[in-house]
């Protein structure tokens, strides 16, 4: 296997951003759609 330079901290930061980002995005999106429900 070819070895590459890896920073595990960066990997976990990206992982955390993806997790938190998708949690928040889906909640905010739902709220925005619900706000316009009557229309």
């Amino acid at each position: 296997m070819e070895q590459t330079v890896v920073d595990p901290t960066l990997s976990w930061i990206v992982w955390g951003l993806v997790m938190a980002g998708t949690f928040v995005m889906t909640l905010v999106g739902t709220w925005l759609i619900a706000r316009r429900w009557e229309k």
Partner: protein, 531 residues
């Protein structure tokens, strides 16, 4: 085997008894729900879609249960175990990016369109949306093809886990499961299936969250996982593992083109999967509060539990077992999820996991088989021979359900696919790309036509077959799986929009019925011009 790490345990009496009890309870529950649901339908239409009165919690749990398949609970952990951190992109970290937009885009529209058109299946809804019997038949055949391929992997997950825990050949476990599935599908129809998938969804959410958090705590946190994997091979902690070939399946883990394709795959497949969107057919008309409850139910079940299971669990399995699971030549990396459950909580937790994965496989398989059967009875026979009696169609449906359950059962035992996640991933890509446009975009775009939809189905089916050869069968692979996803989605978009722009839309009368708000806006605009 490497002695530094745990090895595959021999099945113990506790593991076997616990798993058998768990699976027996699950199957008993399935039959019970089927018996109760039998009282809720009296006609073929009600058998196919219920009374359209399901609430947001049941619908949400059923959607989550339909989405959390054997792949999600078994194959995805295997991918991360095998590839490392880079495997997460394909293994399911984008689950919410797919399933929540599926509600936003398809929930109320599926209910509204199917109800207005008097349709009981997604295929029938699309056929009537475009006023085309031929299109409905072509879609039914295409859906049948893709769902059949996809259904095979469901049983492999259950078989793998059963073997891992009991040490027994999966024949009896799979046979009993498909017989039970036939019973509750035949008895309960749509309502019974919806109820069973909903219960299974709630159970999987609970088990998934427990194992996900437990695994991170057991491993000693992110630092401990990093340390162990860096010692095994630094590539296991790389965001993009460039040591893997840039073509074939591994493109999804080794190049930006592949990694960026993964959220698109999850989005189109969650929104486009017929067995997901079908969960909305029997839903009641939602209020604002009920819409929020629906979204939050799915968010709770699919979000934290599944995203943890699909990402960090594979890494923790590697921390515990190293390469030792790969020593099993028959099941290999697919043992990662059940063995992780065993390492964390012994016989008790692995019994819960087995119950969960048997439920996951059975629930998603049932949802697919029910659609496959209706593809033939409602979407083909009833369409072209409307005088066929309900009784005949229901009896034929019973036979087809048995057939479509038996074929994956046989295929799984005789010729198990090499890597569960990959095999199912390709059928999922085709289904998602085609039906994202043909179903969901057609709910919103008045200008869509049957030619556009037909070209999308033909292109998508052909491109998926060609992709199977170019990416999986040809040695060396001609291109990567991520590139193939971009080709599929872009090609389907060109076929759908291009074909629609070049041909005539359905009748004004139908369009005004389906898009009343656009008609009202046009009238308002016209009147403002006149004044």
């Amino acid at each position: 085997m490497n002695g530094t790490f745990m090895t595959i345990p021999e099945p113990s009496t506790g593991m076997m008894v616990g798993s058998v009890i768990g699976a027996a309870c699950l199957l008993l529950l399935a039959v019970t729900l089927g018996v109760f649901a039998k009282k809720r339908w009296k006609s073929f239409d009600e058998y196919l879609v219920g009374k359209r009165d399901m609430g947001p919690v049941v619908t949400g749990l059923a959607l989550a249960g339909s989405f959390i398949s054997g792949w999600a609970f078994c194959g995805s952990v295997a991918v991360v175990y095998k590839v490392g951190f880079a495997g997460m992109w394909f293994a399911g970290i984008w689950c919410l990016v797919g399933i929540i937009p599926a509600i936003w885009l398809a929930a109320t529209k599926t209910r509204e369109f199917s109800s207005k058109l008097g349709a009981t299946t997604i295929t029938e809804t699309i056929g009537r949306r475009f006023e085309s019997k031929v299109l409905q038949t072509v879609i039914a055949l295409s859906m049948l093809f893709f769902l059949f391929i996809y259904s095979v992997g469901q049983l492999k997950a259950a078989g793998t886990v059963w073997y891992a825990v009991t040490g027994l050949p999966p024949f009896w476990c799979l046979l009993i499961s498909v017989v039970i599935a036939w019973l509750f599908l035949a008895l309960g129809g749509y309502t019974g299936t919806q109820w069973f998938i909903a219960v299974k969804g709630a159970f999987l959410g609970f088990v998934g969250l427990m194992i996900g958090i437990w695994a991170l705590v057991y491993a000693g946190g992110f630092g401990a996982i990093s340390k162990s994997l860096m010692a095994q091979n630094p590539n296991y902690m790389a965001l993009i593992n460039r040591s893997l070939p840039p073509t074939g399946v591994t493109e999804l883990f080794s190049t930006w083109v592949g990694v960026l394709a993964t959220p698109v795959i999850f989005f189109t497949m969650a929104v486009g999967f017929p067995h997901n969107v079908s969960r909305f057919l029997g839903m009641k008309k939602l209020s604002k509060k009920e819409f929020i409850v629906l979204c939050f139910t799915v968010w709770l079940v699919v979000g934290p539990p599944l995203m943890l299971d699909c990402s960090s669990n594979g890494l923790v399995a590697r921390l515990i077992f190293g390469n030792n699971l790969l020593a099993n030549k028959q099941w290999g990396a697919d043992l990662a999820a059940p063995m992780l459950a065993w390492a964390l909580g012994g016989a008790g937790l692995i019994s819960l996991y087995v119950t969960g994965v048997v439920g996951a496989a059975l629930g998603t398989l049932s949802a697919m088989v029910f659609i496959m059967s209706a593809n033939v009875t409602r979407d083909t026979i009833k369409l072209w021979r409307p005088q066929t009696s309900d009784r005949t169609l229901i009896s034929l449906g019973y036979f087809l359900i048995a057939l479509f359950l038996f074929l994956p059962f046989y295929w799984t035992l005789e010729n198990p696919p090499a890597l569960l996640a990959v095999f199912m991933g390709f059928a999922a890509m085709g289904l998602g790309a085609i039906f994202f446009f043909v179903t969901v975009i057609s709910y919103y775009w008045r200008g869509a036509t049957k030619l556009g939809a037909m070209l999308t189905v033909i292109f998508g089916t052909g491109a998926t077959l060609w992709g199977g050869w170019a990416v999986l069968a040809r040695k060396p692979a001609l291109l990567g799986m991520g590139t193939m996803e971009w080709i599929l989605v872009a090609g389907c978009a060109v076929a759908y929009f291009g074909g629609s722009l070049l041909s005539k839309a359905p009748s004004e009368e139908l369009l005004n019925k389906l898009f009343p708000e656009k008609k009202a806006a046009a009238e308002q605009y016209q009147s403002s011009l006149e004044t």
